[in-house]
Symmetry: C2
Subunit: 199 residues, 2 copies
């Protein structure tokens, strides 16, 4: 927990430019489909159609629908990770650690709003839920911000407790079943962080 560098998730060998572009195109098409019509609408056919490529291209790229879903989650997590590791404040380095914690929760809630169903499916697979590299990165990020904010205590368990209410399954339940707005969720997260970090 003392290393200054966070491990990057799923670092693959670099892709050739057009392969990377192609992959990005397909994942953007899949993300758009999830946002517009829900996770069930994401079929290999629909993604191919949306991206304007042949179905074979989608299969060659991701192997199966579940491979595509996995790649989509990985893609989203990498983007978030890039933002909190290298992006501008308040999420990225340079900002106040408490503001960064608040921004981190807001960013997670915003992702759930769009991709929550895909995330929920992954969370309900036991192997994935806590073993995912993305989770370890999030825990370390929150631990490092708690330390930077001067919070004393069991940083690792406090980080686990703070990440628990950001899980997609719960956030989706609050948004959809309880009808709670994203703004109210974001305000509750900010309130929780301010309570936990005040000295």
């Amino acid at each position: 927990m003392t290393s200054p560098l966070l491990p990057q998730i799923g670092v693959d060998p670099p892709e050739r430019g057009d392969a990377a572009r192609n992959r990005r195109l397909l994942l953007d098409a899949a993300a758009l489909l999830v946002a517009e019509r829900g996770v069930d609408a994401v079929t290999m056919d629909a993604v191919a159609c949306k991206a304007g490529v042949g179905k074979g291209t989608v299969f060659r790229r991701f192997g199966s629908r579940s491979g595509l879903m996995h790649a989509l989650l990985d893609h989203t997590e990498r983007e978030l990770q890039q933002s909190f590791m290298f992006g501008p404040p308040p999420l990225g380095p340079g900002g106040d650690p408490i503001d960064r914690l608040i921004a981190f929760g807001h960013a997670r809630i915003a992702i759930v709003e769009v991709q929550g169903e895909v995330q929920r499916a992954a969370e309900n697979s036991l192997e994935f839920r806590f073993a995912a590299p993305a989770r370890a990165v999030s825990v370390r990020h929150v631990v490092s911000l708690l330390r930077a904010a001067g919070v004393q205590g069991d940083h690792e368990l406090l980080a686990c407790s703070l990440l628990a209410p950001l899980e997609a399954t719960l956030v989706l339940h609050e948004l959809r079943d309880l009808g709670i707005s994203v703004e109210r969720l974001g305000a509750a997260w900010e309130d929780l962080i301010r309570r936990v970090t005040r000295c």
Copy 2:
């Protein structure tokens, strides 16, 4: 949220004395099996054998293994509910609300230690996870204690956020995969509650 009385979960018509005793005997046998040998060891046969009754009795009582598991969870939740509604302090009425919140988390963690696998199976069924009456009772209990402790803010969402780290799936991961002790989990819960409730 203003009602002084918490709804009791699964209030069924009273059973005849020996039927109730019988049910209790079978559930105790099932709970013991989970504690000793894990959730997979709980078969109708094994429960009958442990309780010293015929297998037919177990089937007549619970219908199926999943009926038995459901009854086991319900039984555990009712016991906890009895304790925090009617039992002695620190969990029950009369104690300081902050001490009651701390005791509530400790009691939940202790249950996970014994019955976590059964709870985890239930949590990973989407219908059960947040729709369970027991969850609504827990949320209302935490809300009422936050109010009694003089905490200002969005009590409902704060209660949801505080219950999230007590979910069996996460607690089991912390106990088994991360090797964190029950004592350390309990201390982290107490720390979280003290941070959240201090004015």
